[in-house]
Symmetry: C2
Subunit: 491 residues, 2 copies
Amino acid sequence: MRDVFEVGAQDGLARIGELDVPRAGVTVETPTLMPVVNPNLITVEPSRFVDEFGAELLITNSYIINSDDDLRERALDEGLHEMLGFDGAIMTDSGSFQLAEYGEIDTDTEAILRFQHDIGSDIGTPVDIPTPPDADREQAAAELETTQQRLELAETVDVGDMLVNAPVQGATQPDLREQAGAHAYGTALDLFPVGAVVPLMNQYRYDDMTEAVLAAKRGLGRDAPVHLFGAGHPMMFALAAALGCDLFDSAAYAIYARDDRYLTVSGTEHLDDLHYFPCDCPVCAEHSPQAVRGMAAGDRERLLAGHNLHVSFGEIRRVKQAIKSGTLMELVAARAHAHPSTLDGYRALLDHSDQLEASDPASKDAFFYTGAGSARRPEVHRHHQRLDRLDVDGDDVLLTEGDSNHRYDESWNVLPPFGPYPSALATTYPLTAETPARMDRAGYEAAAEGVCRLAEANPDTAFTLAHDDWPESALEAVPQRVSLYNAVRGE
Amino acid sequence: MRDVFEVGAQDGLARIGELDVPRAGVTVETPTLMPVVNPNLITVEPSRFVDEFGAELLITNSYIINSDDDLRERALDEGLHEMLGFDGAIMTDSGSFQLAEYGEIDTDTEAILRFQHDIGSDIGTPVDIPTPPDADREQAAAELETTQQRLELAETVDVGDMLVNAPVQGATQPDLREQAGAHAYGTALDLFPVGAVVPLMNQYRYDDMTEAVLAAKRGLGRDAPVHLFGAGHPMMFALAAALGCDLFDSAAYAIYARDDRYLTVSGTEHLDDLHYFPCDCPVCAEHSPQAVRGMAAGDRERLLAGHNLHVSFGEIRRVKQAIKSGTLMELVAARAHAHPSTLDGYRALLDHSDQLEASDPASKDAFFYTGAGSARRPEVHRHHQRLDRLDVDGDDVLLTEGDSNHRYDESWNVLPPFGPYPSALATTYPLTAETPARMDRAGYEAAAEGVCRLAEANPDTAFTLAHDDWPESALEAVPQRVSLYNAVRGE
């Protein structure tokens, strides 16, 4: 067990965690959002982060500070916390982003880690190589090797009780991401940012981002705190948490506000296009878009940044509450069905239901069927696997969505999307699921797959399936040897 | 045109409207939410409704006031507005609910309308008969006849410039609801509450509610302001607006707060189950569930009622912004995929895509494909209908998701869920749609239906469909005479 991070409540790969930051003397509850502070351009005073928004961590860039004489002197003199006016924990980035943007920087891992330590950072970062998505395999592998050397070097730098990030690279090559995760996890470093996913997020390639993060997670141990570096849009926090990410950082709140862009949990709006503020936050409850458009630029920027932070931290609370109540997949589904990109991410996530299943609790309060994606949730896979092991008593068994029938040795219930189950399990999760009256094909087909599994596991038993008018595509998936009875049509 | 209601921006059946309330001297913008005020039990002072939440109308019950000596005298003496401390418009109910609950009330339409007028109500209500859902046809028809007599009586009562509601009943019989809508619309009365849907909403039968409302809407003219009576849960405001409802009323904000229930746009939570407040509103940004649980009962109730109002009015703003930007169906989809009941409602709504299509704008900013339901949206139907009329130039036409090919006389583009379209239309709505990279079967099948329509309309043209690996279920729907080429597999 890594001693800086403790995993609490889990829901699939998502979890509530506690991150000890010894140098700051605080324990941060995750998932958490770190506002990014550009020391040259303060939009919202960091002192407001804690009281107004509940931020426990912020992130700033040590390379920018080091490159500016004034800032460098002040940071070395006063320390970062006093310079920024922030009591919580502070993470610093290293200049890797600048390296990726400009091709060259005038520092290295050892120097910048020492500098981060000297200015009082609580979590520092080495100089890794952020390989862009779609880089060819040769480049991705070569750059990953350099990153890994830097991590090994970082291990040897004496930084006291400052925690150190171990970025995970590998571009869009899942096996490299997985290998990078395993290597980083094997170091003595503390936090694990999944790096260079910003271009994927900027291009709304949430499916590719999902694949990259899930691959990194396969390499990392379950007790590794994972930071989705550059993830600042609230539309993807639920998805990112479902991928097992614990830390997010938002520069978006300020950058978007600067040109009148307004974040929502389903996308981005421009202030000019808003007739009403589609939001509950204190800023939007008190102001109208018309009034905000009429304000001076600075006031407008501060108000919009305030809204952007409120909606972001509100979504973090929503994600945390969903994890605690075991309903994160419902939240991810709701977000998925608001935008084609989050839908892609959700569908990619469901491709890896088995990976989610391993850490999904056996029981939760409720399973809500909220669309075809629900038929692919880990609970459905797990139930199908269980059908191989459940005992069937009798030679002639009725599987029914309706009443039992005494002509059969035994009756099992059938509930799409799970399929058949013995009635003794009717009050246990997930068979207590709430399902729509208008079930979809995917739900019936998953139930048919359950019937298949049961029939295969019990080759000597005769089965009859009494169904409430299932669609053809589901009935075709039921083995021929299972007798069919359409209870709605009585035939 | 009914002169009290003017319809502005439309999105499907939803619209922004302006309701003139002459007696109050105000014009109310719809969709709007009316907080219900129980004159015996004030949870939130009505004076706060306007400034804090943006309410323009409230609703209270004239029967309760009339049944209480004190309240009756005060109301007759001071007038409702002063008694409640509310400057906006006030609607009053008549006691029909009490009639439904207790079987008997000691007033009638004429007396209660006069009383409503005398206490200064701006919008009054006759005593209609709220037939419960699932009542047999005989009961529903007989009670509807009584309601219709009451509406005709109400027309004859002199109430000055007070507006009068014309409730639409008919239980769960669509033809009775439609007939009731047409009759009510034919009276001189002003607003049209769809009545007795509360039991359906309480039982989360949003599909049956959808059918009832859409039937009433078919009877009512487009310029009829429609009130979904008793609809106070924000989880269904988007759906209700998409059904063409203009007014909602919330008693829920107070009733739920009384026993520590907390409204969200995806359902109801109990305060005891909350570890975090899953919300952005001013109450939730400032307090934690732990702190609120520790408060005195009265303070707790007021705070929760405040949250319930914030989340409700925030959702109304979200709905209005979505109507203005033509994205209400995206919002309905997001809400649908958060709860099995709203999913049922959404699926029932999509069964009536043709009814929505008649008032859906020809062009909007963007069409987001956000799940299988999107394949059934009015825009898809409209495109398929248009395929019957578009000219095809050439004897041998390629329909392709990729590049054109000069071996053919002509090339058309293909985009699921719409199907084929001439490239000249590529920059026009809805063919500018944003679609997921991971399209679903429903989208491909709808595209295949488009191919069918085009082939049927052009029986002498040879078509080749070059598709990017469509699923079997879609390819089966393409007519045999259309040649198929799988561009991904090259075969």
